[in-house]
Assembly symmetry: C2
Homo-oligomer: 376 residues x 2
């Protein structure tokens, strides 16, 4: 068997993630590995933690990157907070809300759904009503920025409702983090997790997560150990706890953490507020261009996400053909719809390092040309 | 808050993993990211799968890298094969056997232990006796190369015993893979998993795993879905299944898979047999040097591992002081003992790209100088 080294093609990534990684982050990624208990690595871990806290606007002590993708971050949030038999209210307005519900069901929880039409924000009134009907719910879970539909929900209001009903709030910020305000302490959110490959423009494979003191207490007071040894925060915190003797749990993904460190340094150099503003400005540029092409955005203006723009595929246009023309002719990737949205929408990402005017313009050019070609 | 970019110190990694990564693999790691559903990425996945099959000496269709470290690979093996109430026989002769038992207990399985003194191989006779006493056991689980003690067990014999008793065999090959024979088909092993940061010398954070057809059937015939959504092979195989339409499950760790591809290309360029021979030759060189320094290996010759050499710490010598002198004076990392072995042993790794004569000699020099200094 003879396999050649792999040289990836040059792409511009404007799908739903991963996004284009800055050369500084790629350079950090490829520095020679050091040990996961090396004193210098421990220093890096402390800095990563401090920068994650800044990025989530929190002072939560239990803030760290899970050594696996965002889906594992979601699972860590559910698995650590909930025990079999617990009741959880899950808001579902897209694929990732469904995934939350699936996680809770697998863990043996009782699940009450708050369902919303795909492409719309979660309705706070429905949430309030559902929480009122389920006084014994332990957790309210929702997705801040639904990656499958491009709709934002009002995280601050939903967290407040959770607090008023004595629930812990569990927030998926995979797509929103770094491109719009994710204010864990301000919102009094109890768990917020994200992924590194979207608006931070770091490598895929890590899931930053933060737990409030209330959430940390809930974990420490569990009646049963969590089923997952790998995601058990009672064990993981022994390795990530600041200032104390580090206890080996698993071998950290060292090079990915080099990259995370550098991506966070770059994020703080730009500033969170500046990053949010940049994402919003590029969204407006793209939106105007799409409208000039006669394309329609699916989400109503009030619930639109800046970093994920969802376009209705015009009648009679072949979804896969257009995406493939864009990829082959322009090296530019946009994403298809997921689940029931497949064939109905395209998802155009403006994420992190990829959220730039030249990318917006290139995307509009590629989309316009490919649409003409596909219509012929 | 002002954090500087992180520049790791230069190290020679001769602990229990991670090992030193070859510049070719680091270069592959840092190539620009492409999408996880890009046709070129799908091609890379197919090649990775094919090379993993070659490395495990198997034709198992269900062979892929889990997107998380070896501990998650262990969890994936247990979680997919076992259901609550199932009985599993677990061999424990070190930390990783204990971790296996912990996984099984957390999953609600009934666990029968075969315990062995730490530093010794698992005794096949004890295993046969235990399997005879537990005719209803579904799985026999053991660690091929115990990373905590440096002892090899006879994987072929243990897999045969499992087969004779109608059990599925579950093999931890985290440390043995690539440095000694791991022959999944020959052994008729049902699940074998490893980690990428040891004798393959790739980045930490991935866990290659292979399931026999019998194991795959057991997964498809489960009575209950596994609790972990992230590790559910019924879902993961939808993304990794060759030749078919790929179904998005989670965002793959793309750059880490670039690195895995290149590390596997290099492994096959050298050849598995040549790699095993190199590890054995370097082990002999190190062993001779250690004996010249008056140091004693803990494991008896018949059960010694080539890639992980376990040395008894001489009476009166300060464990941490010596390791710290080696790290600071020579930039050379060796590992401490884990759990009950802490303070009693050092673990010296000869793994993958780091398994070289110059490293052996440098290690002996560093150890000799640091021991003298610590004794003064």
């Amino acid at each position: 068997m003879k396999v050649q080294s792999f040289t990836p093609p040059q792409r511009i990534l404007m799908g739903a993630g991963p996004s284009d990684i800055h050369p500084r982050v790629l350079a950090a990624l490829s520095r020679p590995t050091i040990g996961h208990l090396d004193p210098e690595f421990i220093r890096l871990m402390d800095e990563v933690k401090e920068m994650l806290q800044a990025s989530f606007f929190t002072e939560n002590a239990l803030t760290l990157p899970i050594s696996a993708p965002g889906s594992a971050g979601m699972e860590a949030a559910f698995a650590n907070l909930l025990e079999p038999g617990d009741k959880v209210v899950v808001c579902v307005n897209g694929v990732f809300g469904q995934r939350m519900a699936a996680n809770a069901v697998r863990m043996g929880c009782e699940v009450a759904l708050v369902e919303e039409e795909w492409g719309k924000a979660v309705d706070p009134q429905k949430v309030a009503d559902t929480l009122a009907r389920h006084q014994d719910a332990k957790v309210l879970a929702f997705v801040h920025a639904e990656t499958s539909t491009g709709a934002a929900s009002d995280a601050q209001t939903l967290c407040r409702l959770a607090g008023e009903h004595g629930c812990l709030s569990l927030v998926d910020a995979v797509t929103s983090w770094c491109s719009m305000p994710v204010l864990a302490d301000d919102w009094q959110a109890d768990v917020v997790y994200s992924g590194t490959q979207k608006c931070l423009s770091c490598v895929s494979g890590l899931s930053p997560i933060t737990f409030s003191e209330r959430a940390r207490q809930a974990i420490l007071e569990r009646r049963h150990p969590i089923q997952s040894w790998f995601l058990d925060m009672q064990l993981v915190m022994g390795y990530w706890q600041e200032g104390e003797q580090r206890v080996y749990h698993h071998t950290a993904p060292i090079n990915a953490l080099f990259a995370l460190h550098e991506a966070l340094v770059m994020l703080l150099e730009e500033g969170l507020e500046q990053s949010w503003a940049r994402h919003w400005a590029m969204h407006e540029r793209l939106r105007d261009g799409l409208e000039s092409l006669g394309l329609e955005l699916m989400v109503e203006p009030a619930a639109r996400l800046p970093m994920l723009n969802v376009v209705k595929i015009p009648e009679g246009v072949d979804d896969a053909r257009v995406r493939s023309l864009m990829l082959e002719g322009f090296g530019l990737e946009i994403s298809a719809g997921l689940g029931p949205m497949k064939g109905k929408i395209w998802r155009i990402g403006l994420m992190g390092n990829g959220c730039r005017p030249d990318h917006v313009d290139r995307c509009l050019e590629a989309l316009s040309a490919s649409l003409s070609k596909a219509r012929r």
